[in-house]
Symmetry: C2
Subunit: 81 residues, 2 copies
Amino acid sequence: MNARVYITLKPGLLDAQGKTVKSALDALGFKGVKDVRMGKYVELKLNGAKAATVKADVERMCKKLLANPIIETYRIELVQT
Amino acid sequence: MNARVYITLKPGLLDAQGKTVKSALDALGFKGVKDVRMGKYVELKLNGAKAATVKADVERMCKKLLANPIIETYRIELVQT
C-alpha cells in the first residue's frame, strides 16, 4: 500500500518561505496570487494491506519523525496499489 | 480559487532526502517501509474563478518558479472555494 502525507505549518504561523515565493511570483508578473503556503509532501511505499494498521503506523511516523506536531499539521491519504 | 501543487523528483532520480528518512524510520523500528520519496507541497490562494485560466496560470508558475522541470514533475489540483 502507498501512503501520501501532506505536511503544512499550522494556520496562523508565519510561513516565511511562502511569503518569499509569493513576492517572487508577484515580481514575475503573476497577478491574483493572494497567498502562498509551502509544505512538505512524502510518498511512502509500505508493506501491509490492512488500511487501518497502515494508517496507524503512518500516524506514528508523522508524530515521531516526519512532522513537528507543535507547529505542523499533517494529512494522510492511503492509496491501494 | 485554491490550487494545490505537488512537486516530486522524476522517477529514477536518486532522492537522497527520501533515503535518509527511510533509514531514520528503519532505525526507529518501523518495519515494512519499502521506499520513501520526499517532495514539496504548495498551497496557493488565487483570484479568478475560471478553472481553465487558473490552471494555465499555475502551470506557468510551476515551470517558471515552483518546480525545476528538468528534474521534477508536478501535479496540480484545483479546489473551488
